[in-house]
Amino acid sequence: MESFFNLNLLSDFLSTSLRLSVPLAFAALAGVLSERSGVFNIALEGKLLAGAFGAAVGAFMFNDPFAGIAVGMLFGALAGTCLAVLGVTFGVNQIVAGIAINIFVLGITAFLSRVVFGAQANTLRLPGFLRFEMPYLSEIPLIGPAIFSQDLLVYVMIVCVVLVHLFFYRTRWGLQVRAVGENPSAADSAGVSVAGVRYGCVIAAGAIAALGGCYLVLSQVFLFSEHMSAGKGFIALAAVILGRWTPVGALLACLLFGFFDALQLRLQFNYQEVPHEFFQMLPYLISILALVGLVGKPTPPAAIGKFYRREAR
């Protein structure tokens, strides 16, 4: 228990928490963006994976992590486009479309990774982003090492959250997104292009979620492995709801999740005699408790998951 109060350990612990939440946060932010426009995004998992694969391909081909980001975001955006075409234009049930995309991405990335990387898939060490210490800031005790000596993508994530927040509440288009997600017919009558807004949001969401995959590959493990998203997209989905469909809320939810995931690793260490499954349940149980504890009810965007067709009433 003593180790908990050791400043270095604590700061390492916070740093682990943050790192575990970054991919979640990108995905959750993407979820917020697309669900606020009324498109349910169960495809986050697939987008993360597509992004991870793209990042690996880009970094491998061009030997440059920025190329990895570019290709990763492109692949994510493609997955997003696919969801938009199916869900917004064709009116395919968005959950089914999302699940189908997940399954497809899982198969195709595994298949193509064998084609692209061949046998070296798992020994490869791709160029990536390294942690750097911010001058002065990183010397602040506790949070300095935890927050101010991370790599580029962590800061990109924080900037993205702030940008999406400002976009939602300070810009004309953000207002349009919120309106489309609540009442597309009203937004339509006010001169907002419902399909346009949804396409924009879902494709952008694909690119943002892909950044989470880029982080996995370019900042964490420097290689691509099959199904490396490992269910993070679904946790992100929960974080979207826990964060009440707001960018900042979703980030907090992801941090909470990352915190308890890091904590469960630590608790396993400290209490070897307790069955580890109980610690592994912890992040999920805490999330449920957080929901119970929060006051007021979370109300999803009213039009979420609904196909909008003008002449239907």
Binding site: S3, N122, V221, S225, Q268
Partner: protein
């Protein structure tokens, strides 16, 4: 007719670990013996019995299930198909089924012993996907060896709940390192990569138990044993072809062609090596079992 062998694998044949090694053994048998082989990878647990019986039905005289979780299904399949020999790797001894096992505590022990000698902090860490018997045996041996080496601290275990999640494995390792472990042993599939990366970054030792990490990571590898499932698989198939594989439990000890020491780091001093060698000899001779 021509001899055939099939393997059913729970994971991906490119996982750099268990599944890949068994797959390689199958390919080795194909090349060495000139037989026909088939395999199914990433077979979900629910489909394992079905996959094995399907191969049996297709007339494969040998069907291999890669992993202890096949034991239950194997019993039923071999009951149903008299002409097929069912082989389970890491299975628990079962009537009518050939099981291939390693003397896991020995492998864990020797790594734990070397690790314990070399640890500065006295703390070691083990990382596994799930709590399966093979790993528990290795862990037990590792702990014993660690203690016998006279290390001061503890050996702790972390389960990641995912054999392939590289990022999670890496974070779990970093956590162990933060808590003071400076020798870690991964028992994972794809996840091993994450463990090795963390070890390299934090400049601590890793010990490999299944594959020789000295080949992929000479810098961080302290010592590796090789549970050469590939050879074991190929050996089993060859024996089966000659009709010599019995429906019983096979156990490979440390020091056999199928299970032996791998690379040991230059950093390990000669006296420790000598002590280790002596222990290995004793285990081989059967005078010592951890």
């Amino acid at each position: 007719s021509e001899f055939k062998a099939a393997a059913v694998l729970p994971g991906s044949i490119t996982d750099q670990a268990f599944n890949q090694v068994v797959y390689e053994g199958l390919m080795k048998a194909k090349a060495d013996l000139g037989i026909e082989v088939a395999f199914s990878e990433k077979v979900k647990q629910a489909d394992q019995a079905e996959a094995m019986s399907d191969y049996a039905r297709r007339g494969y005289p040998v069907v291999i299930g890669a992993g202890g979780e096949f034991t239950a299904a194997a019993t039923r399949v071999s009951r149903q198909f008299d002409d097929t020999l069912v082989v389970v790797i890491n299975g628990s001894p079962t009537e009518n089924v050939a099981t291939i096992n390693y003397n896991n505590p020995q492998f864990g022990y020797i790594l734990g012993f070397i690790g314990g000698k070399m640890s500065k902090t006295g703390n070691g860490g083990l990382i596994a996907g799930q709590e399966i018997k093979a790993f528990v045996d290795i862990a037990e041996g590792f702990r014993k060896g660690w203690k016998d080496a006279g290390a001061s601290g503890e050996v702790t275990i972390t389960y990641t709940d995912d054999w392939d999640d590289v990022a999670k494995a890496k974070e779990a390792t970093l956590n162990l390192i933060n808590q003071g472990a400076d020798v870690v042993l991964p028992y994972l599939d794809n996840g091993i990569v994450g463990v090795v990366q963390a070890a390299e970054e934090k400049d601590i030792w890793v010990t490999g138990v299944i594959t020789d990490l000295g080949k992929s990571s000479p810098k961080a590898n302290l010592a590796s044993t090789v549970l050469d499932f590939a050879s074991a698989t190929a050996t089993a198939i060859a024996m089966a072809k000659d009709g010599k594989l019995e429906r019983a439990d096979f156990r490979f000890n440390l020091g056999s062609p199928e299970g032996h020491m791998g690379t040991i780091s230059e950093a390990v001093p000669a006296d420790v090596r000598a002590e280790a060698d002596a222990l290995i000899e004793k285990m081989k001779a059967g005078t010592f079992q951890p």
